[in-house]
């Protein structure tokens, strides 16, 4: 049976690991808390904004990716600033198994197919950041700063048509809130595409992971901040998920 994935998202600002709140770097920390043997997957994102970095952020992030790839024997997805196939190639050469594209794909959806052609669809994760707008949702690009006028489910469907192998949906308002995932957002996207959908933004309790799978229809639940606020570990999160009836990997 395919098991539900508990995915750790690591966000790097200028090569330094930060937790985020409302899509802004919020607090610096180290990733020693990641249980390297029990985490199911790692997503590493470069969130350095143009003009804010030291100018060497690309290099430091590259070093980070190379370091994780050599030490962690779990899948690694890397992203942040991918606009071309060459950008994706660079991450893959450093040891990423997949790349995460967001703004680059919004601006030019064909980018998805350009990466999928040589690497396969399973290599392309399209990340969709959205905010609620009344009873609808709207996709934002550029680190959550630019409204695109697109509906997340429509965009997800189009992205899969272009060759996306997975969709990562993040609620901008929930980011760093610890108040739980936006399950409605996840459900809307998951019901429209046949590829796995991962949910991020807002996990603050183990119960939220269960909700993401059961109510949100997610194939994987992502978290970054939560371990920073709890003494507990990935093992205890997974024990909770298993108790709630989900299939999760404990060894």
């Amino acid at each position: 049976m395919l098991h539900q994935r508990l995915i750790t998202v690591l966000t790097f600002n200028d090569g330094v690991l930060f937790r985020t709140k409302l899509f802004a770097p919020d607090y610096r920390y180290t990733h020693n808390f990641v249980d390297a043997w029990l985490v199911d997957e790692i997503v590493a994102l470069d969130i350095t904004r143009p003009g804010n970095g030291s100018g060497t952020a690309g290099h430091s992030f590259a070093a980070v990716i190379g370091g994780i790839a050599r030490k962690c024997f779990v899948p690694l997805a890397a992203g942040g600033g991918i606009r071309t196939l060459d950008d994706a190639r660079r991450f893959m050469a450093l040891g990423a198994d997949k790349v995460v594209v967001n703004t680059g794909a919004v601006e030019r959806p064909r980018l998805i197919g350009e990466i999928a052609a040589p690497y396969g669809s399973q290599c392309v994760v399209v990340s969709i950041d959205a905010r609620r707008a009344g009873d609808r949702y709207e996709v934002y690009s550029h680190n959550g700063t630019c409204a695109t006028g697109r509906d997340p489910a429509d965009w997800a469907e189009e992205a899969v048509g272009e060759g996306a192998g997975e969709i990562l949906v993040t609620s901008i308002e929930r980011d760093g809130s610890l108040s739980g995932y936006d399950l409605d957002l996840c459900r809307r996207v998951a019901s429209r595409v046949s590829v796995p959908v991962l949910i991020a933004g807002g996990a603050g309790a183990w119960r939220h992971f269960v909700d993401g799978v059961v109510e949100g229809g997610a194939s994987g639940v992502c978290t970054s901040n939560i371990y920073h606020f709890t003494e507990s570990s990935i093992r205890s999160a997974k024990a909770f998920m298993r108790k709630a009836g989900l299939a999760v990997r404990l060894s």
Binding site: M1, A69, R70, A117, Y119, S194, V195, P196
Partner: protein
């Protein structure tokens, strides 16, 4: 003691070589990542990794002269080879990914689209899934029956001869998860991405003599 064993990791412009090399080194072997047939000829065993699309992969292997070179090393000299994911599929006769394309043909099998019988099962098949042991083999030593491995694929080998299939995976369709044919081995999942059980399987392959 002999010198450290050298493991050739075939670099044909596809897939994640860094993590395969990292796992090999973690296990105490020297990783030689190369597309040069002469460099690969000086290794004790070979890993054909792979992430990506079948036609590009075969084209790249041909363009680097690796189809003949690997054939010579594996088929004639008997160097053990492990194909991983796409690298496993390349061992088959042909694939239907993006049209019909000939593979290396070392396994009497074909690669077809993964078509789960349950529409709720999403494709690509991504994540941690189990194996069902069919027959014993050197790769399975120390691997518990309930071990989980990381799969990420949309195509699979569904028609391999029973004698070559050590383990199957069932994802709304049964396909080969671990294969063995003489000194040619293959896994549909990524042992280098499957934590301790994957490392055990890699270590088993690296101990084949």
């Amino acid at each position: 003691m002999s010198t450290m064993q050298r493991v050739g990791i075939v670099d044909y412009g596809m897939g994640n070589l860094v993590s395969v090399a990292g796992a090999v080194e973690y296990l105490g072997y020297e990783a030689v990542v190369s597309h040069d047939p002469r460099a690969l000829a000086e290794t004790d065993r070979l890993i054909l990794p792979g992430v990506g699309a079948f036609p590009d992969a075969m084209r790249n292997l041909h363009a680097r002269g690796l189809v003949d070179a690997l054939g010579d090393l594996v088929r004639r000299r008997g160097t053990p080879l492990l194909g991983i994911c796409l690298g496993a599929q390349l061992l088959a006769r042909e694939s239907e990914e993006f049209g019909r394309h000939a593979g290396l043909g070392w396994l009497d099998a074909t690669v077809s689209r993964l078509r789960p019988n349950d529409p709720a099962l999403r494709v690509p098949h991504v994540g941690w899934n189990g194996i069902r042991k069919i027959r014993d083999g050197v790769l399975l030593k120390g691997v518990p029956d309930d071990a989980l491995f990381y799969y990420v694929h949309s195509y699979c080998i569904g028609d391999a001869p029973a004698g070559n299939v050590l383990c199957e995976c069932d994802y709304g369709a049964r396909f080969a998860a671990v294969l063995e044919s003489g000194r040619v081995f293959a896994t549909q999942f990524h042992p280098e991405k499957s934590q301790q059980h994957g490392l055990t399987m890699l270590r088993n392959f690296l101990s084949v003599h």
